[in-house]
C-alpha cells in the first residue's frame, strides 16, 4: 500500500494501517527517541507515547510536506512537552571558547552512530535536548526558546556547554582527531 493511502486508511482508524505505519516508521522514530532519552527504557516510553500521539492526531496531517517529517516533528514536540513538564531546563553561566583546531573529517570513518549516540546520551537532559534541537533538528535559538519557554540566552549557554562536553568526549575517545594549531592542522 502506498504511503498516502496508508495514511488515509490510518486517518479512518484502520488498525491494520496503524500497524503498517508503525512497521514503516518505528526504527527511525526510535532513533530520534534514543537521542533525546536518558536511557533505552525512556526511549521506549517516548516511542510508545509518540505513536499513540501520532494515531490520535493523524487526522491533522494535511498531506503537505512529507509524512515522515510531520511524524518526526510530532515526536519531537511530544518529547519537548514532557521535558517542559519536568522543568529541567536552567541557564548555565558557562560559555565554551575552544581555540584549538579539531579535525573531524575522518571521525565518521572511525566512529559509528551508536557511539555518537552514546556520547549524546551521556549529556545531562537539558544539554542533550538543546543540542539535539539545534544541531540535528535545525531549530534556531529563537525557536528553541519559544518551544521550551526559556530565554534565548539560556538556549545558547546550554548549547555551548553541550558542545564543550561533547568535544571533550570526542577528543578523549578519538585523540587522533586532535590537532593543535601549532602543528599546522
Amino acid at each position: 500500500m502506498e504511503l498516502e493511502s496508508l495514511v488515509r486508511a490510518s486517518q479512518k482508524g484502520d488498525k491494520k494501517a496503524h500497524g503498517e505505519l508503525y512497521t514503516l516508521l518505528h526504527r527511525k522514530m526510535f532513533g530520534i527517541c534514543l537521542r533525546y532519552a536518558s536511557s533505552e527504557a525512556e526511549a521506549q516510553d517516548h516511542l510508545h507515547d509518540g505513536f499513540i500521539h501520532l494515531y490520535k492526531n493523524i487526522k491533522k496531517y494535511g498531506f503537505q510536506g512529507s509524512f515522515e517529517g510531520w511524524a518526526r516533528r510530532l515526536f519531537v514536540n511530544l518529547i519537548l512537552q514532557k521535558f517542559r513538564s519536568k522543568k529541567l531546563l536552567y541557564a548555565t553561566g558557562f560559555e565554551f571558547n575552544e581555540t584549538n583546531e579539531i579535525s573531524y573529517e575522518h571521525i565518521l570513518e572511525d566512529i559509528n552512530a551508536a557511539e555518537l549516540l552514546q556520547l549524546i546520551t551521556e549529556l545531562s537532559p537539558q544539554y542533550k535536548l538543546i543540542f539535539n534541537l539545534y544541531a540535528i533538528e535545525g531549530y534556531s535559538h529563537k525557536e528553541i526558546a519559544e518551544k521550551l519557554e526559556i530565554s534565548e540566552g539560556t538556549s545558547k549557554s546550554n548549547l555551548s556547554r553541550a558542545r564543550s562536553i561533547l568535544q571533550a568526549k570526542v577528543l578523549e575517545r578519538f585523540p587522533q582527531c586532535y590537532q593543535m594549531k601549532s602543528n599546522g592542522g
Partner: protein, 489 residues
C-alpha cells in the same frame, strides 16, 4: 568551518538518519494502549448516553407525576362521554339484574326478552329502583351510571330508556361528579346503544321518547354531592398542598475514601504491594440546585469540590530490566545497580538518585519507595433524583439516586524517600473524567416557609483512576455525609 559547526555537523551527519530497533513487544504495547483508549471512548459514549437517558427519564417522570397530582376540575356532564364504564360495576349490576330476572321468571311465564322484563319492573317501582341506586352506590362506590346502565340493559334494542335525572342544577352537578369519578375509573367500553345518553336535564328531556321514562328526584337518588367529593379526594389520596419548585443549597461533607492502590497492575505477583495505607479525612463542599418535579420527586444537580488524600508507605516499584548498556544506570543505597530507571509513570523517576532500596518479591526485583503522599481535588457535577418518602410541614425524609460526573482539577503527589526528603511528582497522568453512582437517604427539618436543614449520608461508588499511565494506579470510592442548608422558593 568553526569548531562549533564542525561538531554539530559530526553529530548531525552521524545521527540524523539514525535508526534503531525497539523492543519486540513495542507494537503489542502500543496496540494494547490503543485498544484500551477505544474501550474508554466507548464507555464514555455510554456514560453520556446514560446521562441523557437519566435526564429525559427524570423530566418525563416529573411531568407524569406532576400531571396526576392536581385534582381535576369536575367536568360538566355535557363533556362526559359515558362510553366507558367500569366492568366490575357492569358485572355487578348485571348479576343483580339477572338474579332479579330469575325471580321474575318464576312468576311470569312468557318473557321473550330480558329488556322487556326490565321494562316492566323498572317503571313499576321507580322509587324503589332509585333506592337501589343509592344502596348499590355504597357497595360499589360507582353508582352514577347505575340508573343509566340498568335502564339501558333493560331497554335492549327497543330504545326504551330510563334515566334518573335530577331536576335541579345543583343535584345534576352532584351526579356529574360521580359520573366523572366513574369515568375516571373505567377502562372498558360499553356499546353506546346499551347505555343511556346522559345529557343536561333539558337535553335529556328532549331525547326521552317514551313515557316510561322515570324521573327520579334527587332525594330518591340519595346522593350527597359534598360527601362524594370528599370521598373522591380521600380515596385517591391526592395531596394538593402547595410546594416550592426551586431550591438552592449550601452543602458540605467530610470525605471518607476507600481506596485501592495497585502497583504494576499487569504483574500478578505484586499483590500486597504497599506496606501501609493511611486514608486522610478530607472535606467536600459545594452548591446544590433542586427542581421539584412533583410533590414526591425532585431533580438535583449542583457543583461540588471534592477533596481526597492518603499516605502510603512501602510502595514496591517494578524495576525495568531492559538496560544492557551503561546508560544512566543508578545505584541504590545498597550499592546495587538497579537497571537505571524506576519506571514510575512511564518516565524516569526524576529523583532517581540511588535512594531507593531494592527488594526481591516473587522473583521480581522491585525498588521500594518509602512513602507516597497523594492529594486530589475534583470538581464534580452530580445529577440525581430525590424521592420524598415523608414530607410534611415540619420535616422530610428523602432518598436520592443518580450519577456523579467527576473532573479532576488538581493533584499533588509527593514521593518520600528514606532520608526523609520529599519530592513533588508532577508527571502523573490523571483520568480527566469519570462517573460514579451516588445514592443515599436523608432527613431534614424545615424552618418557616422557605428554609430547611438536612443530613444525608451518601455513598459515592465508582472508580476514578487517578494515575492512568503509571506503575502505580489508585482507585477509590467514597462515603459522604452531606449537611445542607436549603432555601426553597
Amino acid at each position: 568551518m568553526g569548531d562549533n559547526s564542525k561538531i554539530d555537523k559530526l553529530f548531525s551527519d552521524g545521527l540524523n538518519d539514525f535508526e534503531a530497533s525497539p523492543q519486540s513487544d513495542s507494537w503489542a504495547r502500543i496496540n494494547a494502549t490503543m485498544e484500551k483508549k477505544q474501550q474508554k471512548k466507548r464507555v464514555l459514549y455510554w456514560r453520556w448516553a446514560s446521562i441523557a437517558a437519566a435526564v429525559v427519564l427524570a423530566f418525563y417522570t416529573g411531568y407524569y407525576f406532576n400531571d396526576n397530582t392536581t385534582i381535576e376540575t369536575y367536568p360538566n356532564i355535557q363533556n362526559t362521554k359515558p362510553g366507558n364504564s367500569n366492568p366490575d360495576y357492569i358485572s355487578h349490576e348485571k348479576s343483580m339484574e339477572q338474579s332479579k330476572l330469575k325471580e321474575q321468571d318464576s312468576k311470569e311465564t312468557t318473557q321473550p326478552e330480558r329488556g322487556a322484563q326490565k321494562l316492566k319492573s323498572s317503571p313499576s317501582d321507580p322509587i324503589q329502583n332509585s333506592k337501589k341506586v343509592a344502596s348499590n352506590s355504597s357497595l360499589s362506590e360507582k353508582p352514577a351510571l347505575k340508573n343509566a346502565d340498568n335502564t339501558s340493559s333493560a331497554s335492549g334494542n327497543t330504545s326504551k330508556q330510563t334515566v334518573a335525572i335530577a331536576d335541579k342544577t345543583s343535584e345534576w352537578e352532584a351526579e356529574s361528579i360521580v359520573v366523572s369519578n366513574f369515568e375516571e375509573n373505567s377502562n372498558t367500553d360499553i356499546e353506546s346503544e346499551e347505555i343511556a345518553t346522559l345529557e343536561t336535564p333539558d337535553q335529556t328531556a328532549e331525547t326521552i321518547e317514551e313515557p316510561q321514562v322515570v324521573l327520579a328526584t334527587p332525594e330518591e337518588i340519595q346522593l350527597n354531592p359534598s360527601s362524594e367529593v370528599l370521598d373522591y379526594a380521600e380515596n385517591t389520596q391526592v395531596d394538593n398542598s402547595p410546594f416550592s419548585r426551586f431550591s438552592i443549597s449550601a452543602m458540605a461533607s467530610p470525605t471518607f475514601p476507600f481506596t485501592d492502590v495497585t502497583v504494576n497492575q499487569n504483574d500478578k505477583t505484586t499483590e500486597g504491594n504497599v506496606d501501609q495505607q493511611t486514608l486522610k479525612t478530607s472535606y467536600t463542599y459545594g452548591l446544590g440546585f433542586g427542581y421539584r418535579l412533583s410533590k414526591k420527586l425532585e431533580l438535583h444537580t449542583g457543583i461540588v469540590v471534592n477533596n481526597w488524600s492518603q499516605e502510603v508507605n512501602g510502595v514496591k516499584l517494578k524495576v525495568t530490566q531492559t538496560i544492557t548498556s551503561g546508560l544512566n544506570t543508578s545505584v541504590d543505597a545498597s550499592g546495587n545497580i538497579s537497571s537505571g530507571n524506576v519506571n514510575f509513570t512511564g518516565l524516569n523517576d526524576p529523583t532517581n538518585q540511588g535512594k531507593l532500596q531494592t527488594a526481591n518479591v516473587g522473583g521480581q526485583t522491585y525498588s521500594i519507595l518509602p512513602g507516597l503522599k497523594e492529594n486530589y481535588q475534583f470538581i464534580e457535577v452530580p445529577l440525581a433524583i430525590g424521592y420524598y418518602m415523608i414530607d410534611n410541614k415540619r420535616w422530610f425524609v428523602k432518598t436520592n439516586i443518580g450519577l456523579n460526573s467527576r473532573f479532576i482539577s488538581q493533584s499533588k503527589v509527593t514521593l518520600v524517600y528514606a532520608d526523609g526528603s520529599e519530592v513533588p511528582y508532577k508527571n502523573i497522568e490523571l483520568e480527566t473524567y469519570s462517573m460514579q453512582l451516588i445514592g443515599g437517604i436523608g432527613a431534614g427539618v424545615k424552618f418557616g416557609q422557605h428554609w430547611d436543614f438536612g443530613l444525608s449520608p451518601t455513598l459515592l461508588y465508582g472508580i476514578t483512576q487517578v494515575n492512568t499511565h503509571s506503575e502505580i494506579d489508585t482507585y477509590f470510592h467514597q462515603v459522604l455525609i452531606y449537611s445542607s442548608l436549603s432555601y426553597r422558593f
